[in-house]
């Protein structure tokens, strides 16, 4: 099966600086792929090349099997939701929503009216057709922007950080709604964001980008539990990264000597050799704290440095006797330790991952 969108060796160069450096992506129809990364990583540049607003220096863009690299944006069957909504301020909501349809040659007023009503009811905005964008709240404007994009039934929908202008609560609610809508209508989408939580909830696939390259393209679950590189591990969620040297490799597991002399077992997705210097990822939720008098195996001495109550968890910063600082998250019911208490630390062995 051919993919809905394919980026082949895509490069964008600005005066010797590569904003996007040989990117390859394929996504199937109905899938949502996020481009995730810090600002300046090339994610927006990539999106704008898919939209046709920028021309790639090298490489090609294929939409549903057709090469569209050279096509101007208005000849591509796409739609886009912008960060600042980019609604036409001089047109009413109705005019905004039917703009794309009119340009696609639909002239019949009845059809236009019907389609606009339909799509506005999908985004739960009935009865605002005759208002101007400025008369709507930010959330409503973003829905109009979403409706304007959905109504043209594009081959691919592009999202450029669409939620970053909304307040936190609305953002969480809207991203779930966007995912549900896209899934319900089987729309293929590329979603650009710098918010990892947003990317994790909304997408089927995430491409983590850094310095113009894709660090890892994987499902949200895989990305979180099996990051390939230190950058990905650090960027997605909270991470403790411990430096160590590979001591012994056995089936699926490796033994790694941390630089403080502690030997730990962990799983490794990457190819490694004995003697390699690597990082071990331990997520904060995979570290347990025990009272200092505990006698279980594999416990390390540590001292609590910070204790932050976050509601559903308590986040600790503890320092091992060897000097390594760790972040861990404990359920409030078990968060007995206070600042400056001596505790014992246990790593969840099954969840320790060797990264690049």
């Amino acid at each position: 099966m051919s993919s809905q969108l394919e980026l082949k060796e895509l490069v964008k160069e600005y005066k010797g600086f590569r904003a996007v450096d040989k990117i390859n992506i394929q996504i199937q129809k109905g899938d949502i792929l996020s481009l995730l990364g810090p600002s300046g990583c090339g994610k927006t540049t990539t999106l704008r090349m898919i939209a046709g607003l920028l021309t790639p220096t090298e490489g090609d863009v294929f939409l549903a099997g057709e090469k569209i690299t050279e096509k101007p944006p208005y000849k591509r069957d796409i739609a886009m939701v912008f960060q600042n909504y980019a609604l036409f301020p001089h047109m009413r909501v109705y005019g905004n929503v039917v703009y794309g349809l009119k340009n696609r040659g639909i002239k019949d007023k009845k059809i236009l009216r019907k389609k606009a009503e339909e799509v506005l009811s999908i985004v739960q905005l009935e009865g605002v057709e005759d208002r101007f964008p400025r008369q709507l709240s930010g959330g409503q404007q973003q829905r109009v922007s979403l409706a304007r994009a959905m109504v043209v039934e594009p081959k691919i929908m592009l999202f450029d950080e669409p939620l970053s202008n909304l307040d936190a609560k609305l953002r969480v609610q809207t991203r779930i709604e966007i995912r549900n809508l896209l899934k319900q209508l089987n729309i293929t989408a590329i979603y650009v964001t710098h918010d990892q939580e947003e990317a994790l909830t909304i997408s089927d696939w995430i491409a983590v980008m850094n310095k113009g390259r894709i660090e890892q393209l994987a499902s949200p679950t895989e990305l979180y539990s099996m990051p390939k590189t230190k950058f990905v591990a650090d960027f997605i969620g909270h991470a403790n990264l411990l430096e160590g040297v590979v001591e012994k490799i056995s089936e699926g597991h490796v033994e790694v000597m941390l630089h403080n002399g502690i030997l730990v077992h962990c799983i490794s997705p990457a190819k490694i050799h004995v003697g390699d210097k690597r990082f071990i990822l331990v997520r904060p939720e995979n570290i347990n704290l025990f009272p200092v008098e505990s006698t279980e195996e594999n416990l390390f001495d540590a001292v609590v440095e910070e204790r932050n109550f976050l509601g559903s968890v308590v986040r600790y910063k503890v320092r091992l006797a060897s000097g390594i600082a760790l972040e861990c998250e404990i359920h409030p019911d078990y968060a007995f330790a206070e600042v400056r208490d001596a505790v014992k630390v246990q790593f969840n062995k099954e969840k320790m991952v060797l990264v690049g």
């Binding site: 046709g52 101007p72 796409i78 609604l87 036409f88 001089h90 009413r92």
Partner: protein, 282 residues
């Protein structure tokens, strides 16, 4: 006890009173005197409408008024057509290129109108560059003298109005959100369609204010019709000058000024009213 508000910004009421007083003396008082002169009989000093009657009864005067407005209107039309693209380009420039472009745009304003019109007096005659260019473009077949013609005066008026119009348009064009134009491209409109459906409507308030400024300036233009009209193109300003300086009929001159003032004011008010109505569309 209420605390007295501390003043540390020094925005003072005198900032507005002094300039207003200045304007009052040099603008409002003469204006009032002019209004009074126009409705006051020069012999008896009683109220009279005779000067206005004289104006509106005579087809010649009405003709001068309409010529004034038509010349001004044409110059406005050409200023929009020629100035908008310039402003569009400059608004999309950055850095030193933009500084250079803006400098060149206002450069003509550093030279007095009289000098610039001397330039046009060299361009417009039968043997001048203007005639040669029009012949080359096959717009006219024979060499033609444009000095002392309506076309010549319009050229001068465009020359004077264009820098103002272009400068005024830069900021409204710049204020159009580039993402809104991009949204138009993404939703299937090409450059031309985007221009007429998005950019132009969004900048129309700017066009109106620019056009009104040029219109007001050019209706009141004096040197241009004097120098390029060569005495053959009579407009309101010339006629007022004639009445005051040669015929010494100050009362009639005042009436002419009042007519010009009110007609301009009426047109300006009407256009801004209409443009406000038009802005809300679709």
């Amino acid at each position: 006890m209420k605390q007295k508000e501390k003043k540390w910004t020094y925005v003072n009421k005198w900032y507005i009173i002094l300039p207003l007083a200045f304007l009052m003396v040099i603008y409002l008082i003469p204006l009032g005197r002019m209004l009074w002169l126009s409705i006051c009989d020069k012999e008896t000093g009683e109220y009279t409408a005779e000067y206005f009657m004289a104006f509106f009864k005579d087809g010649y005067y009405i003709g001068v008024l309409s010529r004034t407005l038509i010349l001004s209107l044409w110059s406005v039309v050409f200023c929009i057509i020629m100035g908008y693209p310039v402003a569009y380009k400059v608004a999309h420039m950055k850095g030193w290129k933009r500084s250079i472009a803006t400098t060149f745009l206002v450069l003509p304003l550093w030279v007095s109108i009289t000098i610039r019109m001397f330039g046009w007096m060299a361009i417009l005659p039968k043997s001048g560059v203007f005639s040669i260019i029009l012949q080359a473009l096959h717009i006219i077949s024979e060499p033609q003298n444009f000095l002392g013609s309506n076309v010549g005066v319009i050229m001068g008026l465009i020359h004077c109005g264009l820098p103002y119009f272009a400068m005024i348009m830069i900021s409204p064009i710049e204020n159009v959100d580039p993402y809104v134009e991009e949204a138009s491209y993404v939703f299937g409109a090409g450059f031309v369609k985007t221009f007429f459906k998005v950019t132009l409507p969004l900048t129309s308030p700017g066009i109106v204010s620019g056009a009104l400024l040029v219109f007001a300036l050019n209706t009141a233009a004096f040197m241009v019709p004097v120098m390029l009209g060569g005495g053959k193109v009579m407009v309101m300003t010339n006629m007022i000058y004639q009445q005051t300086m040669f015929i010494f009929d100050w009362n009639f001159a005042a009436a002419l000024s009042v007519v010009l003032l009110f007609v301009s004011m009426f047109i300006v008010t009407l256009s801004s009213f209409l443009s406000n109505k038009m802005r809300i569309q679709e």
